[in-house]
């Protein structure tokens, strides 16, 4: 063992004595555990009441009875901190009392809004906490502030808050004053996209970096956000015609097939029984153990906002 290693060992032993005593730990743990048990019962009761009232969605749940689950390790799954949705801070102004339905997504971790432009083409607006990378050139007035031409002069960027930079471009490209005019028509009313899926549990430590009506991606902690599915866990909605052969598994009473690892991925397909297929693709580089993969899939509810797509 080297000198540095000896010093590290001594350092850790010395600092271990500074750890808190935890005199009230047992009491705190028992209180918190009881509170969560009560909350779980209340949530389940409320969910049952709602489902009984509307009887619409098709939630998948593992039907594990007492004593049927042996937990040898802590799960790689955790409760989500909130719904997996995306909100964009601006929305189109109503025209004759009607608001056009924007397409709001999360792309590479950034909320994005797409809208048809008057006269044709599609405008895409992205919000981020810092100024978009790349040079900015000519000043352009936008929504009462000084914006700039960016990229190859096919986009405008402007700031509306301390951590709120917008970038607007159109496809096909239009002149900057057209973009600025379009930006002016937006109002500061947040718009939230309906969640395509809800999750009872999510992979611990992963962050959602893409949400679209057809797919949600969970990005591992050591991977930068991007718009791809590479190296991530992706939840998608497909159609049963796309179902591939594999090892049969049961997911909360629904027939599923498990394939891989193949081409760097393990793929779980769950037949929802209505022509749709729930697909969970887990990168082999960040494997979710099979029991957790099945439990993760069993906790997914496909909402009416989900549409079949391909990744």
């Amino acid at each position: 063992m080297s000198d540095v290693e000896h010093r590290v060992r001594d350092l850790l032993r010395r600092h271990a004595a500074e750890a808190p005593a935890g005199a009230t730990l047992l009491t705190t743990v028992r209180t918190e555990s009881r509170r969560r048990a009560r909350r779980t019962r209340a949530v389940v009761a409320a969910a049952v009441a709602v489902l009984a009232g509307i009887g619409v969605t098709v939630p998948l749940r593992l039907a594990a009875g007492p004593g049927t689950v042996t937990v040898a390790e802590p799960s790689a799954l955790t409760e989500p901190s909130g719904p997996v949705t995306v909100t964009f801070p601006l929305s189109p102004a109503p025209v004759d009392g009607v608001v056009a339905a924007p397409d709001v997504r999360l792309e590479a971790g950034l909320p994005t809004l797409s809208l048809p432009m008057p006269g044709g083409g599609t405008a895409t607006l992205t919000v981020r906490p810092t100024r978009p990378a790349g040079p900015v050139t000519t000043p352009v007035p936008v929504r009462g502030v000084q914006g700039f031409l960016a990229g190859t002069a096919d986009a405008i960027v402007w700031q509306e808050g301390p951590e709120q930079w917008f970038e607007l471009r159109a496809d096909p490209a239009v002149p900057a004053d057209h973009l600025a005019g379009f930006a002016k028509s937006l109002v500061a009313t947040p718009v939230t996209a309906p969640a395509p899926f809800t999750f009872a549990v999510v992979p611990a430590g992963y962050a959602v970096d893409n949400i679209s009506p057809g797919a949600v991606t969970f990005c591992p902690p050591d991977l930068p956000f991007d718009a791809s599915f590479v190296g991530k866990i992706t939840v998608m909605l497909g159609v049963t015609a796309e179902r591939s052969t594999g090892r049969p598994v049961d997911v909360a009473g629904h027939p599923g097939t498990l394939t891989g690892p193949q081409d760097g991925y393990v793929v779980l397909q769950v037949d929802l029984g209505d022509g749709r297929l729930l697909v969970v693709q887990s990168a082999a580089s960040v494997p979710l153990p099979e029991p957790d993969l099945l439990r993760f899939a069993a906790g997914i509810t496909v909402t009416p906002a989900a549409t079949p797509g391909r990744g």
Binding site: P20, G22, E32, S81
Partner: protein
Amino acid sequence: MRDFDEFVTVRSAALLRFAYLLTGDRHLAEDLTQEALVRAHRRWHAITGPDGPEPYVRRAILRQYLSWRRRRASTERPVAVVSPVPSRGDLDLAERVVEADEMWTALSALPRSQRAVIVLRYYEDLPDAEIAGLLGCAQATVRVHAFHALHRLRSALSPVPLRRGEP
């Protein structure tokens, strides 16, 4: 659940030391330990294993530590640059204290996976194979984490100071 109470009473100090060395933060160490114990309490009778419940709780603490990014990111205070600090065998007591402080600071600046490897290897005395199992990575990755961590810690102990009176 009398055995749960007994487990917490007997083992909480060791668990808190483990969590504190991972985080370097007393409050966060308590949070992580409490959360791990709450989860263990809720499934106590289902936790099995030849070594009892402690491996489960330690893994839970470790997983939370490695995945706290989203919850704690706004409160983290990473150290961007590790200050070089004087060091050599004949330092006096005051210098050794300063050196230890700087090394502790350097430890806190390590990426979490590297720090976890250091704590598991040099405090828990676990072999690399077991650390790899806990972190869900290859043994080679553990060795790489340890190499980079030790390199950074070694950097915190250099350059060699020129003591007064030396050429």
